[in-house]
Symmetry: C2
Subunit: 233 residues, 2 copies
Amino acid sequence: MSMKKEEALRKSKSRKGYGKQDKYERIIDAAVKVFAKKGFHKARISDIASQAGVADGTIYLYFKNKDDILIHIFEYKLQQIIELFEAEIEQEASPVFKLARFILLHFSMLGEDPNLAAVLTVELRQSHKFMKEYTPRKFGEFLKIITGIVIEGKDKGLFKDDVSPGVVKRALFGAIDEMGTFWMLAPRGKRGKYSLGDTARQVCDIFIRGLLKDPKVWDTRKGEFFNQKGGEL
Amino acid sequence: MSMKKEEALRKSKSRKGYGKQDKYERIIDAAVKVFAKKGFHKARISDIASQAGVADGTIYLYFKNKDDILIHIFEYKLQQIIELFEAEIEQEASPVFKLARFILLHFSMLGEDPNLAAVLTVELRQSHKFMKEYTPRKFGEFLKIITGIVIEGKDKGLFKDDVSPGVVKRALFGAIDEMGTFWMLAPRGKRGKYSLGDTARQVCDIFIRGLLKDPKVWDTRKGEFFNQKGGEL
């Protein structure tokens, strides 16, 4: 994990204070592990309590039920991810490199925290309550990072004028989410064919060349991006 | 629906014969309507029987349970879709236009058969059994259409040499599936912002320009594609 990432995570953690928040966090982290290992449907509240080192009843002081824990994981972790992504993307001057950074960060998360990735990409969809009743406002905030980059790229005359940021946002998220889900679900032996690093590079190539008025900008400058610190997965 | 599409559907239907197969088809079609209208979880076998005009018990002569009907819808309809896509794509000489045709067909399906689209994009994921236990071999066959086009494009020297057909296959499917799901779930008022036709064009632009060694090939020839018969949604 890069220095910048650690700093963003620390910032996000220290803001929460101690005591009550500390136990909340412990339960959230324990639930991520349990959901990833047992699957959402088979996981029991008592498994989460035991993993977190708290009494079963304590869980109900913080959460209504198992679906509620999942929603809290989603909101809490996504907030950390948004802060981390925004801090890292801010370091890049060009919207082209910002978009590449977004794609790289997404794939590097899968490698760095496979439990969280499994919960966010696979287990979440197992909760009927989450899929049908929850309005994922935080998810909208996350996707807005893409919209912001695309608008900046159009404003600077780099991206094609007829591009809709809303279409790019969903198409790009769909592409990286599908690749991520595949990677999470694939047996380890089959993953090798599509390493995270190579996949991230290819998705960068498609979307950035696809959006640029002059794709040669990326063809000639991408070496610079991948060679800089943090350009490798 | 174009002549070619009708022909492909007729071909696929006539192969099945009458009698038993006819009732099977009637139940499948009724289930698509019921699942799309009531949602998979709320739909009852008796709703499907009544929509199909058969006795409840008849359903169990053909299907084990509600999840089994969903799996049959998936296999049966996807087979028709594969035959239709292959027939239409075959008409295009260039792999560039073949890929554009694939994208256009996918989006036009959403508009032409919204019930089926709702079942395939949204309701399917509500079946725990389907998501966890079923190996979607037919889905693999569908995705292979993309792989075939990408390999042809590389062989003809049009697409970049470092492109992995497997990555493109999943990234493209992820993008069009996410756009499609969004379109299906969006309130009708919000859909207008992203018409199917405009979305399809933008996805064509991103992926085809992203893959081409020389994106100008698409920039200068796409008018020709969209102006030909069947180029409009």
